[in-house]
């Protein structure tokens, strides 16, 4: 289809136009097995492919050993064992000898039967290992050299299109040949953002329906600024985006020059701009993009990349390092927010409504041991710099009271053990559930600050799962109802002398900047690479006009109206943003 426009979540702000490279197509099918040889020839072919695969995996393993996390190495390790598994090797040989199958057929058929075997295992953690076997199988098939699908990246300007990309896969891509990444799955899969950012290429994730709309070789536009992907663009669209690409590059450079200027409006209203980060390797981005400390440190990766629960020491070391790098600015550490879209690798029971279920603080309070370990590590690290504590998925005042009790208890423990810590550590609540906004007056008595997570707040207010393509069009954090909830929160918080930050996707949306200033929030926290452009907008606004824009926006009846209105107003003030804000009609 010509000029197909699909929307996703932008994770690295630049633009590229290139050819689709479909990574790991759903099924490698054999249009033609070149020539079936004799039994011995087929066995020899298989053995050659196996040895080649082993060599590749071992090389990859030594490459991955350089990464700070151990998990990718373990994944490769298990694949190496599969390639040496006597049972599996025997089955392939039997199929070739007794059933007279070609090497490729034998591998495909064996994969089919293993798939059934794995499906029978009730423990989902083990049954998912089929994916590793499948990976090995695909590699063997590739190395047989008989499939007609080109798996190697050729030439330049490849846009890698995939359902999802693991850190291992992303690490395997040859840097000089990839000019963009688009994935169907993934919300805040930060490793893609990190790698894309490090390589300075655009990336868009969570693009629903992507794989059904694209084929290898299609022309594709990736706009990592607005999160738009255009498949097979017409000449007109292509020209527009080529221009946007040039213009965006120029503007980003310009913005980056001013990254260290304070985020202060024309009339002297200042706000802190901090970074959202998750991985140790992102620490460098804080300075690079001019962030003032870390406004949101997600800690889920600690739990998701290792098979066992990370111990206190491991966490303590990581949090201390963050505190040290941010100092004298603060780092806000959010406790474990598992559940919902994230999956805990241990066997937790499936829930019918995970987003309304056992996640965030609800999970932590009932998993005392895990929670206390994390709190102890955070408190101990608070002696190394300026650390604040943030609690996710709060919906009831009692939860914050309980958290305070546990923290107090741990402080007593640490005192007895003689560990130093910050006795006045600030404890805040994430504002993600509308009940917290409406009862902010009560919450303000038991928290030191609020941090509004607009992604979940929007989901819960509009009852829209943004990962569900049938309804994701209804999702927009500029919905007037969301703005009103934010207003209530800020008013109550300030009335009680508590400060409010915003750490959701809205903070990186430049169209939304005027209303966030108008709300007079005290801090914005966003993915580092978006910071320069947001700062630039703030420095060109006045608090007075931002307040007026907010008042008008709140009177509107839909997010579409608000967005159009704000975009128009922004362009009046910043004509140079025209190309960055440009979108194509659906």
């Amino acid at each position: 289809m010509k000029n197909r426009v699909i929307r996703g979540i932008p994770v690295s702000p630049s633009i590229a136009i290139g050819k689709v490279f479909l990574y790991s197509p759903k099924d490698i099918t054999f249009k033609r097995i070149k020539k079936k040889g004799s039994v011995d020839e087929e066995i020899c072919k298989f053995e050659k492919s196996r040895r080649k695969s082993l060599r590749q995996l071992r090389a990859l393993k030594s490459e991955l050993k350089k990464l700070p996390t151990k998990e990718p190495v373990r994944l490769i390790d298990i694949q190496i064992l599969f390639l040496q598994d006597p049972l599996l090797l025997n089955s392939v040989e039997k199929r070739i000898r007794n059933n007279k199958e070609a090497a490729a057929e034998a591998i495909l058929n064996l994969l089919e039967s293993l798939k059934r075997d794995f499906q029978e295992i009730p423990d989902s953690y083990i049954s998912e290992r089929y994916l590793d076997v499948k990976d090995v199988g695909d590699r063997l098939l590739k190395n047989l050299g008989e499939d007609e699908i080109e798996m190697e990246l050729k030439g330049h300007n490849n846009i890698v299109v995939a359902e999802r990309l693991s850190p291992t896969e992303t690490a395997q891509m040859s840097v000089d040949k990839v000019s963009g990444i688009v994935t169907e799955r993934g919300g805040k899969t930060s490793h893609i953002a990190i790698i894309a950012e490090a390589l300075n290429i655009p990336a868009v994730v969570g693009v629903n329906g992507l794989l059904n709309e694209t084929e290898s070789g299609d022309e594709i536009i990736v706009d990592g600024i607005s999160g738009i992907v255009v498949v097979n663009p017409d000449e007109n669209t292509k020209r527009t985006f080529e221009q946007k690409e040039k213009e965006a590059e120029r503007i980003q450079k310009e913005f980056l020059k001013h990254k260290d200027l304070p985020a202060t409006t024309i009339d002297g209203y200042s706000i802190d701009i901090c970074a959202n980060i998750e991985l140790p390797m992102e620490l460098g981005f804080i300075k690079k993009y001019g962030a003032k400390g870390v406004g949101l440190l997600r800690t889920e990766f600690l739990y998701l990349t290792s098979e066992s629960i990370p111990d206190e020491d491991e966490q303590y070391r990581f949090y201390s390092e963050i505190a040290r790098v941010c100092s004298p600015d603060y780092a806000i550490i959010r406790t474990l927010d598992l559940g919902g879209d994230k999956v805990f690798k241990t066997k937790t029971k499936e829930e019918a409504n995970p987003f309304l279920g056992w996640r965030g603080i609800r999970f932590s309070i009932s998993n005392n041991e895990i929670f206390r370990t994390q709190l102890r590590a955070i408190l101990k690290a608070s002696s190394k710099g300026n650390i604040r504590l943030l609690i996710p998925m709060v919906s009831q005042v009692e939860e914050m009271i309980e958290v305070r009790k546990i923290v107090k208890d741990i402080m007593k423990e640490l005192k007895k053990e003689g560990h130093p810590f910050d006795e006045n550590i600030e404890i805040g609540a994430m504002v993600e559930v509308p009940s917290v906004c409406l009862l902010a007056d009560h919450f303000a008595k038991v928290v030191d600050f609020f941090s509004i997570g607009t992604n979940d707040l929007t989901q819960y207010t509009l009852a829209v799962d943004r990962g569900n393509k049938r309804v994701s069009g209804l999702y927009d954090h500029l919905d007037p109802s969301v703005l009103k909830l934010m207003r209530v929160t800020v008013e109550h918080a300030h009335h009680n002398n508590k400060w409010v930050g915003v750490c959701g996707g809205i903070a990186a949306d430049i169209v939304a900047v005027p209303v966030l200033i108008g709300l007079e929030v005290d801090e914005l926290s966003l993915p580092p690479s978006f910071i320069p452009q947001v700062k630039n907008v703030i420095r060109g606004l006045s608090l007075k006009e931002a307040r007026e824009l907010l008042t008008q926006a709140e009177k509107m009846r839909s997010a579409t109206e608000v967005r159009e209105f704000l975009k128009g107003e922004l362009l009046k003030r910043f004509p140079s943003l025209k190309n960055i804000l440009l979108e194509v009609e659906k």
Partner: protein
């Protein structure tokens, strides 16, 4: 032949990483090494086999070896499971 009963003690059971550890360890010995759970025997040098046992915490398994270094093999694997708990805790 030499064999010994043991119990899975680490909290996640024999998932991917412990399975890899067993296979790597078993492969260091000359003897044929097997694991048995609920009357099912698997080759301890096969990652596929060990994963298919799907052993969880608290379950009993038998470690069996046959060959010149059978005693050492069984002892090493039982120690990995019981004492070292796959170096998890």
């Amino acid at each position: 032949m030499y064999q010994k009963k043991t119990k899975i003690k680490n909290s996640l059971g024999i998932h991917a990483r412990p399975a890899s550890m067993i296979v790597k360890l078993a492969s260091k010995f000359e003897s044929k090494v097997e694991l048995e759970k609920d009357n099912i025997d698997v080759n301890a040098k096969s990652i596929m086999g060990v994963l298919m046992l799907a052993s969880e915490k608290g379950q009993e398994i038998v470690v069996r070896a046959c060959g010149e270094d059978e005693k050492e093999a069984v002892k090493a694997i039982v120690e990995l499971i019981e004492k070292r708990k796959f170096d998890e805790e």
